[in-house]
Symmetry: C2
């Protein structure tokens, strides 16, 4: 049995390697939804490491983000050290009340609201805050503007860059709305710790103050700016992820799994016994994601190009 610290985040590859053996580096980690072919970090200027990140570098990143996501002019944009930091802070933007979180979903939202004194609510129309993960993790469910009712509305688009047409970015100029973006998934740079909060200027200003000055590292400003100014990479990556997701579906279905949903960064399957599937894959040193609330759900991220033969062997 793998014990994870605090929340069930997936990941936990260290623990898996400890239990099943093998060097961590030799494991294939499909337990996340991180693009296995990341945006190339490229050259980093020496002053990105040594100087306090300056206003010009920050402005360049924010401008690139506005263009890449077609942010409405009246919405504010704040770069953050990953999406996790604003997720932890957002519950303090309003007095604690009832929050509706479209479940099941990524569990940090509920943790953060509960830690700040909020109560989970159902149905959404009675809540003072509402969270949708769009598309949802793990099932890929999409939402629309008409699903959003609460005065404080969080739209977590950490996985939406594979499907830009589905983005609810046009809602970011609606009062009380905050949209989250992440560099950890589509760009494959989870260790970079770069995310964005886009929306209601008053809330964004409050989050900026909670984070303190210089929240984002110099290298993240540089790499993020380059990536957001590179729409060709984004287009090619979307095509590749779509092809690879279809290939993974075929393999899993041949092995007896049924596709439930997902995005092209992760696929959610229904199987007879997810724990057994996880164990079988782990014996091949492939780490997968199971869910404490549904013993039949197995989530698989996409492998790197050189890892397909091992996925095929494990699922055969």
């Amino acid at each position: 049995m793998i014990t994870l610290t605090s929340n069930d985040h997936g990941g936990g590859l260290d623990a898996a390697a400890n239990q099943y053996g093998g060097d961590r580096a030799e494991w294939i980690d499909l337990s996340t939804g991180i693009n296995p072919l990341p945006y190339p970090t490229g050259e980093i200027s020496p002053q990105a490491w040594t100087a306090l990140p300056d206003n010009n570098a920050r402005a360049a990143l924010i401008n690139a983000a506005r263009r890449f996501w077609n942010v409405p002019a009246s919405a504010a944009v704040l770069a953050t050290p990953g999406a996790s930091a604003p997720i932890a802070m957002i519950p303090r933007l309003a007095a604690a009340g009832q929050v509706h979180i479209a479940a099941p979903t990524y569990n940090e939202h509920a943790s953060a609201f509960i830690a700040n004194g909020w109560q989970p609510a159902n149905p959404p129309k009675q809540a003072q805050a509402q969270v949708v993960v769009h598309p949802n993790n793990p099932d890929g469910r999409l939402f629309s503007a008409s699903d959003l009712h609460a005065p404080l509305r969080i739209i977590d688009e950490s996985f939406c860059d594979v499907a830009p047409d589905a983005s609810l970015i046009a809602q970011s100029n609606t009062k009380g709305t905050l949209i989250l973006k992440s560099f950890g998934k589509f760009w494959g740079l989870a260790g970079l710790r770069l995310g964005f909060v886009i929306g209601d200027p008053e809330h964004v200003a409050a989050l900026e103050q909670m984070l303190g000055p210089w929240p984002v590292a110099g290298p993240a400003l540089e790499i993020g700016t380059r990536a957001l100014c590179d729409p060709d990479w984004a287009t090619q990556t979307r095509s590749r992820l779509a092809r690879d997701a279809a290939r993974l579906d075929t393999l899993a279905q041949q092995g007896g799994a049924t596709l439930v949903g997902g995005t092209t960064l992760f696929r959610l399957f229904e199987v007879d016994d997810a724990a057994q599937w996880q164990d079988r894959l782990a014996r091949h040193h492939i780490w997968s994601r199971v869910f404490p609330y549904n013993p039949k759900w197995l989530r698989l991220g996409l492998p790197a190009p050189d890892a397909w033969h091992r996925i095929e062997a494990a699922l055969a």
Copy 2:
């Protein structure tokens, strides 16, 4: 007139270059207390950028920090995205009351407390929270354990690694005490965004929750661990900084300045008219620090080895 955004942070080199001309890269920035010969960032593993920072990498950094700073076993240690993030969050660790901040000092402490509803207090014995910057910025003043009275005590040791014998780290196992460390000054890696909070386990756990999971980037974990396991670099750097500080003192004194104090990362001088000195240096494309509350104080950081001739020419 240079206009700085929000707080007067020093820095503002972009604005200076805009006013006085010259390419930003060609300016010598003495407005900060950042070591101009940073710890070498070295090779960064690809997974530091791509994977969520794992528990093993975080544990390695924390263990290195414990050894480097001789942290008492009962004190907790948390790595943070710079020292600014915990400075912004610390005022929420207790109900807003009166805070005593030994002044004049780094202004983010007062800003954060005031933004969270605290009132500045004098004298310290009546305050519910107390902040000392140790050694103090800009004058280098040192404090002792007997100066600390309030239930919540913050010791900001961002500049203390040049004088490890002066550290109050032994106080970090005292209830209500938090000691801050920074990688931006002594190690010269301000863009890395790496800092530490060391002290009362209950407060440290609360800050950890406010920050959310994975607050520190993968490259910062790797570089920070290497640097904290390299005491030889630290020893050599302290010697070099001491020599260079003495050299800067001599030059400034020959130019008519009087040494007030400082650390070997920055020197505080009294001059007839600090704004005039700043202007004179800026015409040589050297940026310095003046203080709105004292028109005679000029603070200079240390130049890189290849910049001395320009400092000499400007001060001659």
